[in-house]
């Protein structure tokens, strides 16, 4: 398929997916909400994706084939070139934001080099860091009996260190699935990773400082400078309810996968507030301000890290007063093998697929996979998490009836019975909570 055809397809689908289906593929979406292909339409779509479509009849109307749904590659994705980092996809260079392609998230524990990068401000200059990282100080003040200022060296020796595998995920992960587009970096599913973090429990520090009865919220501050260069302005300052701060899995971390946390990932000291929007896990942590009310730093107001309480019309302005703070991230699953776009050898009749699933504060109870656009589903095997807030491995072996183009879909359900929708719903201006069923495309050579 030529790039020109691909862009044309995107424009058509971007304008009106259901009409595009009808025009391009001769397909109409019936009252059953399920489209069908017939005659020339099927052949056209097959030609467009360069293969036969064994289950085309089950593909819902208006859903662009996954092979076409990728970002239109005018110049292809910009690949990160940075020492110590894998080939992540750059979403922006200032602030530096890069996501991990799903096939690079296949490891049980995400290696540091493959971990996504999300900055809100400027990475602190090496020159602004103490030459000895152990001299880095973190302050805890506000609604506490004894304000603390602890150097990293003391933190490491005076408190018990714990090591946990914890999910960290950008609050906007999945934003690119919203239609119409929501504001911000257009993440697919790659703003997430599960590394092994070592640190001390924030609860131990808060107990040492002694929370006053009025302590209800935290406010986090770091050393990253606002993009404007204004040193008096925090790049971002978010916080969490005290209960989350006191959770034994919330860490003031100083090691990532057994080594000092690299500067690009917030070292020497950062917060890890697992399962919640990543912006609560402040990098280059300098201060935790214990508040007697909900924190009101930059990133806590407007539509930032907030979803609409009353469902709003997709694409409309909404009312920032009618919003709720995004806390726990929603249930999500990704296929990490095979890769999206994998060409499977002629004669392949089975895929042993792998992936990860996670669900914010909850665990994943089941993952279902489909290779026929959701007409039939098969239960995957889901492993227990290594510890609470770690993602869970799923595997499934699916039979393929023949050669051609297939989409592998996966859908996780959490322990509350909440599953992934087919399309990103609950549209909100800044695009949080986009967690539709994951779709990858593979091609079995004829």
């Amino acid at each position: 398929m030529t790039g020109k055809v691909e862009r044309g397809m995107h424009e058509l689908y971007g304008d009106d997916p259901e009409r595009a289906d009808a025009l391009v593929f001769g397909r109409r979406t019936g009252r059953s909400r399920r489209g069908f292909l017939k005659g020339a339409g099927l052949a056209t779509m097959g030609a467009a994706v360069g293969a036969s479509l064994p289950f085309a009849g089950g593909m819902p109307g208006g859903l662009v084939p996954a092979a076409l749904a990728q970002a239109p590659a005018e110049k292809g994705p910009k690949i990160l070139k940075m020492d110590g980092k894998a080939n992540l996809v750059v979403l922006g260079d200032k602030p530096l934001v890069a996501e991990t392609p799903a096939e690079l998230l296949d490891d049980d524990v995400t290696p540091t080099e493959k971990f996504f990068i999300r900055n809100n401000g400027l990475t602190p200059e090496a020159s602004s860091m103490p030459s000895d990282p152990k001299a880095w100080k973190v302050k805890i003040d506000g609604e506490v009996n004894t304000p603390l200022e602890i150097a990293l060296g003391d933190l490491m020796t005076k408190y018990q260190a714990v090591t946990l595998k914890l999910m960290l995920e950008c609050g906007g992960n999945g934003r690119s699935f919203f239609s119409p587009e929501a504001r911000g970096n257009q993440w697919t599913n790659g703003g997430a990773g599960c590394a092994e973090w070592t640190g001390v429990r924030l609860s131990d520090l808060l107990k040492a400082a002694g929370l006053k009865p009025g302590a209800v919220y935290t406010g986090h501050y770091g050393a990253d400078v606002h993009l404007s260069g204004d040193a008096s302005k925090p790049s971002i300052s978010r916080g969490v309810r005290i209960a989350k701060a006191m959770d034994e899995h919330t860490l003031v971390a100083f090691k990532m996968n057994g080594k000092d946390i690299p500067a690009i990932h917030g070292g020497p000291v950062r917060l890890i507030v697992p399962g919640w929007a990543g912006s609560a896990s402040h990098k280059w942590l300098t201060r935790i301000w214990i508040r007697d009310k909900e924190h009101d730093g930059p990133g806590m107001g407007g539509f930032s890290y907030r979803t609409a309480k009353t469902p709003i019309v997709p694409g409309s302005k909404g009312d920032p007063k009618d919003t709720a703070i995004l806390e726990s991230m929603p249930v999500r699953s990704i296929v990490t093998f095979p890769a999206h776009g994998a060409r499977l050898a002629k004669g392949t009749r089975k895929i042993d697929l792998r992936g990860h699933a996670w669900a914010g504060d909850n665990a994943v109870q089941s993952v279902d996979v489909s290779i026929d656009y959701g007409v039939t589903w098969k239960k995957a095997e889901v492993k227990a998490p290594a510890n609470k807030f770690a993602w869970q491995r799923f595997t499934a072996s699916v039979d393929l009836p023949g050669a051609g183009y297939y989409e592998v879909w996966c859908k996780a359900t959490d322990t509350k019975g909440v599953t992934q929708p087919f399309l990103a719903g609950n549209w909100n201006p800044q695009g949080y909570g986009g967690n539709p069923v994951n779709r990858i495309a593979v091609l079995v050579e004829a």
Binding site: D93, H226, S228
Partner: protein, 152 residues
């Protein structure tokens, strides 16, 4: 990411000092206080950041600490291209702009967010309209989704 340490320190300290003063003053400092700014003679006034801007006063250059590789050609040509570039790219790269496709209304609320939360200068309404027209024309919604009966 190879930065000359000395150069980076000098530039960082110089521009920080300058920015802090500008912020305290809420805009440009009066002329009599200007000598303090000689700490970094290369630091052009970062007027695209903070405070109100008179009509046509959007600078025609990036502040020296913009720290990204983008140039005016990083944005598509069109009426308002320059103003958009120098106002937005004073702080962030153009990739963030280009990744998004929004209605004029949503670009407007994005603009407001930049002024209120991110210390972007607040241009004259005519300049603002020029930039919003540019953004809405060049970066309209690309994923319209279903025909929405409530957005007529």
């Amino acid at each position: 990411m190879n930065i000359s340490m000395t150069g980076a320190v000098t530039l960082a300290i110089g521009s920080l000092a300058l920015l802090m003063m500008l912020d305290r003053a809420g805009g440009f400092r009066p002329a009599r206080e200007a000598p303090a700014a000689t700490a970094s003679s290369t630091a052009a006034p970062p007027a695209a950041r903070g405070g109100p801007l008179a009509k046509g006063a959007i600078p025609k250059a990036l502040p020296p600490d913009a720290k990204h590789q983008d140039t005016i050609d990083s944005l598509p040509a069109g009426k308002g291209q320059e103003e958009t570039f120098y106002l937005c790219a004073a702080c962030h790269g153009t990739a963030l702009i280009k990744a998004q496709g929004m209605t004029r209304d949503m670009w407007d609320s994005t603009f407001q967010l930049m002024v209120e939360r991110h210390a972007m200068a607040n241009p004259d309404p005519d300049d603002r309209a020029l930039i919003l027209d540019y953004l809405a024309t060049n970066f309209p919604p690309r994923r319209r989704g279903r025909d929405n009966p409530f957005l007529k």
